[in-house]
Assembly symmetry: C2
Homo-oligomer: 200 residues x 2
């Protein structure tokens, strides 16, 4: 009999956890949310009848009061000694939320999120790389901004995600083909009012 067709009960099974890097942009920096008072990302064990994304949503709802997130998978961490309590695989996830919606999490700049429990340093690093890749080609794929945005708003987000200053004129020309002008302008600030755009 082919091994893959043997009954499932023949095998001891690992515990499977999810751990999630909740990312957001505030000011000019990329932040990650930690469990209040602890140097670790929010996580939970996968329950029977639940998907991985479901476990992520449950853990974020419980630990941070966050609802309606869309988790993306990063990597499975499987080092045999990664958890002193036993055999635990962790499926790392990333979730991106607007700055107002970080719930009870403690925000720390990703660059300062080191010395975390388990292999959570590596998860933060992978999550930062993941969001950087996402924002190379698209204006705001994770909806960090509301539906109407100016090029300045957008550039601030990209600068925080990218971790470097961007030239306003080059950035504008790169993003314009992917934006829809609303015909409106944002008034009230000093300076020439900026056009408002929608994501295309």
């Amino acid at each position: 009999m082919d091994p893959i067709d043997r009954p499932l009960t023949d095998y001891p099974r690992p515990s499977v956890a999810v751990d999630t890097a909740v990312l957001t942009v505030r000011g000019a920096e990329l932040y990650v949310g930690l469990v209040p008072g602890r140097p670790r990302l929010p996580g939970a064990f996968l329950h029977e009848g639940e998907t991985l994304a479901g476990a992520v949503r449950r853990s974020l709802a419980q630990k941070a009061g966050l609802e309606g997130v869309a988790p993306a998978q990063l990597h499975v961490f499987d080092a045999l000694d990664r958890d002193s309590r036993g055999w635990v695989l962790s499926v790392a996830h990333v979730v991106v939320v607007p700055a107002e919606s970080t719930g009870a999490l403690e925000l720390v700049p990703t660059s300062a999120a080191t010395g975390l429990d388990f292999d959570h340093d590596a998860i933060v690093e992978q999550a930062a790389r993941w969001i950087r890749d996402r924002y190379v080609d698209h204006p705001d794929p994770e909806h960090l901004l509301g539906p109407e945005l100016t090029l300045r708003d957008l550039r601030r987000v990209h600068e925080a995600v990218h971790g470097a200053a961007l030239q306003p004129d080059t950035f504008r020309r790169a993003m314009l083909p992917r934006l829809e002008p609303t015909g409106q302008r944002r008034r009230g600030d000093v300076g020439k009012p900026a056009q408002l755009f929608r994501r295309r």
Copy 2:
């Protein structure tokens, strides 16, 4: 007590499997290796005390006689109904081997590898995307070719991976900065002998 700190025994655990797309290039096409006589990728259940990469290596050694591969993770498939035998997560992997080293696997062009068991169609698709991304910027990151190669060899590989013809001159100029000339030429074929290069 924080849920993540409860004893592990409180939770029912899933079975965890690995399933691997073994990719290679033969002629002008990208192939994937299937279990002989079955419409599925080689796979196995994760055993206690074993890493995921270890399980991949074990399954490929057992089912195909393949040794010394370096598996890369793609994605965890976790649909609740993906396996009729019960609760099974599958961690999809990809492995790239030279055309001579495909062991006992049955090679099928990736474009023709549809209608496979479980969610293996999706794994093949992701594996093909993965290798395409790997070969965009590097001459031969997965060592599909031997240590000494001509630009023609390299272009054939890229054409197979990319699934499209490439211009010899443009390709040459794109790859040259990433290659080390050996000073040797390959003789014996018709036409001007081509320079031999090494990966830099």
